[in-house]
Symmetry: C2
Subunit: 178 residues, 2 copies
């Protein structure tokens, strides 16, 4: 396995969803680091159609946890959370291409999760878009307006306990076309 | 910048789209490595709704390049290409949640790009979904059937020339909600 002596690859293979955090603080520097990594993602026509809403205080995280039907414990125990949203002002005008923002923001979200893992933080992708009720709940709890579409919320904190990554390798999901 | 002495973070920050490749071969082991990384992505309810169609030979890459309106040079010069597709048998049945597959496959695609960069290969995400004509062209060129939705095609090869990563950090895209 190449992963064993390749730190970047190992980081990808060992990242897993972390929902339990100790009380240690996540610093502004760490938040900037993971967002910088997210912004390094590719995007269709380099539109970078993403926006990051950062929640550090417990009060707003509690309000979101109260309103959402899922991810409550993660949000409450985390030290911070980041909402990744699509920025409509950067979407394609062509209706056939408009939904590329979802792919772009998802690549950014994966970078954010990997960067968190790389600096010793735990995180989990809690889906919002495309479920209409979740989008509404998120708007109500945060005041995020119509110019943005909240895609996911990612609680972040210092990992508590053991989190064994799943081995999801499955050769049945690979087809060689030639 | 934490990136300078953190290999995993550096890999995320230095990855960039590579469209020029030397003639060196991409091995089956390397293809398995990048696909294994892709399968390490998170997915909503752990559905892993992805499938990987691998194209090693020049003939099929040429047929796809011929048919698609973009990415022609990358596909022709690459040593291999991987189509990441959604596997409809693993989609949510709930119509409101069905499109989570796009986010899941996008996270897998980003992992694949990062893993390629980590092992010294260059790659570029060429968008297919959601443009209907591109999906049709891809189906016609490859024979991928209705059970899968081709989301993107990623040519892979040994990087030729210098590829300076873009610095896309933009603090205007960050809002602190508290």
């Amino acid at each position: 396995m190449i992963g064993t002596d390749n730190k970047a690859l190992e980081n990808i293979l060992t990242r897993t969803s972390v929902r339990s955090y100790s009380s240690g603080n996540v610093t502004d520097k760490e938040l900037e680091t993971v967002i910088r990594a997210a912004m390094s993602a590719p995007s269709a026509m380099n539109k970078q159609p993403w926006h990051f809403f950062v929640i550090r205080g417990a009060k707003l995280r509690e309000a979101i946890a109260e309103m959402l039907e899922y991810g409550k414990q993660s949000l409450r125990n985390a030290s911070a959370a980041i909402i990744i949203a699509g920025d409509k002002s950067r979407f394609f005008e062509d209706p056939e291409a408009v939904d590329y923002w979802v792919e772009d923001c998802s690549a950014a979200a994966e970078n954010l999760l990997l960067a968190a893992h790389a600096i010793g933080l735990g995180a989990v992708w809690c889906g919002v878009y495309p479920i209409p009720s979740r989008i509404d709940q998120m708007r109500k709890a945060t005041g995020i307006g119509d110019g943005y579409v909240p895609m996911c919320i990612i609680p972040l904190g210092h990992t508590e306990g053991d989190h064994e990554p799943k081995d999801k390798w499955d050769p049945a999901k690979v087809t060689y076309l030639d």
